[in-house]
């Protein structure tokens, strides 16, 4: 009897921590994305170091709109939780996070290159409502390692995607970064920092007869694949 009870308790102790946050909190990006993440790269290379428990990353001072500054400030409200602070780059300094005008993107972030792409349609809706700030905060969430969530989840979170798929009118049901978002971001960011901390994610690749070959360090052939046969499966 005691053995059965302890078995159930043991099973619950494993399952509960995994199932409860899964339904309520934002998830992290896939581990392959985290290994190649820009924030982790900067930390591993020693370009950004921890000061008083906080990693400070710079963003390009020429922000496309005030929504960008507001979104970084919103995440800075959670610095004590995440251990991450965002500040504008000083004049002449290479920013860690950049902004690129990229037609057709509306707004999207690339965690690998630490770039937030936006287009003129997104800028035209700026400041018309707080949703522009929400959208940028969502993209910063990606830089921190957070994954998208479906639209209209309950409770609402910053990683909820917006609908409809029209840049000019899309809205998310999120209206702010939540404590839960910050907690999730902390976990994902720590994954970025610690994952593969002492390994080198760089690989060698070369093209031969329309195929890309990839090898880990030491030139041992790892896996060839045809670019043309790449799919999302």
């Amino acid at each position: 009897m005691n053995r059965a009870l302890s078995g159930i308790l043991f099973a619950l102790s494993i399952l509960v921590p995994w199932t409860v946050p899964y339904s309520a909190s934002a998830q992290c990006l896939p581990s392959s994305d985290l290994v190649n993440s820009g924030l982790g790269t900067l930390i591993r290379s020693g370009d950004v170091t921890q000061q008083n428990g906080v990693y400070t990353f710079t963003y390009a001072s020429g922000v496309p709109s005030s929504a960008f500054t507001e979104a970084f400030n919103d995440w800075n409200d959670y610095t004590s939780v995440t251990g991450v602070k965002f500040v504008p780059a000083a004049a002449g300094q290479n920013p860690d996070i950049t902004f690129t005008n990229s037609p057709g993107m509306c707004i999207a972030a690339n965690p690998g290159t630490l770039d937030i792409a936006y287009d003129s349609v997104f800028l035209s809706r700026n400041n018309s409502n707080d949703q522009s700030t929400i959208a940028v905060a969502h993209e910063i969430g990606h830089l921190l390692g957070l994954q998208d969530k479906p639209p209209n989840t309950s409770p609402a979170g910053i990683m909820d995607q917006a609908t409809p798929a029209v840049c000019a009118t899309a809205t998310s049901n999120a209206d702010q970064i939540t404590d839960s978002d910050a907690d999730s971001a902390t976990g994902c960011f720590q994954n970025e920092v610690t994952k593969c901390k002492n390994c080198d994610s760089r690989r060698y690749r070369w093209i031969f007869e329309d195929q890309i070959f990839e090898a880990e360090q030491g030139w041992e052939l790892k896996k060839p694949w045809e670019v043309a046969k790449r799919s999302n499966q």
Binding site: D47, G104, M105, G112, T113, D115, D148, A165, V227
Partner: protein
């Protein structure tokens, strides 16, 4: 105290000593690797990232990285279509078409790559297109430079289109070309021979992935019905 007693007292420390020895070995290996990297002049990932983001950056990063540079672009739009109705209403043009050719080019002062696909229109489901071929642009691709170096921007969240394959494409007008609505979401491979539909949407919870259960005929009929209802 005899020697055997001393050994007995030291015995509990053995695991600790073993761990300490392993730590030392690991640290020395990491240091040796870092020294070897520094000695070989291999650029750091951070150096490559900074280089790639400036004018002519992908080319410079390829030169810096022994002739070949791969950038991973995981970006995905903020918005998500929830249904074919969402996709259709956001589209200027919906077509069934076959990829004739592709060409990749540098954009944004050499910091990005886009691929232009020439799509032979087989059937127009929504909108009007005077010519038989449309130019559809995707982010990512590969570019070879004159000096023999090359750069690739990989887009795992937007699978490439394959030459000779047939797709249902939900498109919005760009500047002289078209782009997929919702990036990967607006692209469905339609294979009449294999009798399947393959949505390119990559997120596991993407509601558009459910259309993989339809046959091509069922899928096309459903899109046409939605478009007819919308334009009525």
């Amino acid at each position: 105290m005899n020697i055997s007693t001393q050994r007995m007292r030291l015995f509990p420390l053995c695991p600790l000593m073993l761990v300490a020895l392993l730590c030392l070995l690991f640290a020395s290996q990491v240091t040796a690797q870092q020294a070897a990297d520094a000695g070989s002049g291999k650029p750091s990932a951070a150096d490559l990232m900074f280089t790639a983001r400036h004018t002519d950056g992908l080319h410079k990063a390829a030169i810096l990285n022994n002739g070949f540079y791969v950038q991973h672009d995981y970006s995905r739009p903020w918005m998500q279509a929830q249904s074919l109705e969402d996709l259709a209403s956001a589209s200027d043009l919906v077509i069934l078409g076959t990829v004739q050719s592709e060409r990749s080019e540098l954009v944004r002062d050499g910091t990005g790559i886009e691929t232009h696909y020439a799509i032979q229109v087989d059937r127009i489901l929504k909108g009007a297109q005077p010519q038989g071929v449309v130019d559809v642009v995707h982010h990512g691709g590969k570019v070879a430079f004159d000096d023999g170096t090359a750069a690739v921007v990989e887009t795992p969240n937007q699978p490439v289109l394959l030459k000779g394959h047939r797709y249902a494409l939900f498109l919005m007008n760009g500047e002289g070309h078209f782009r997929s609505v919702g990036e990967a979401q607006g692209t469905f491979e339609v294979d009449q021979n294999a009798n399947w539909v393959h949505p390119h949407a990559t997120l596991s919870f993407d509601p558009l992935r459910k259309y993989s259960k339809l046959t091509p005929d069922q899928f096309i009929a459903q899109v046409q019905t939605i478009v007819n209802r919308e334009t009525r």
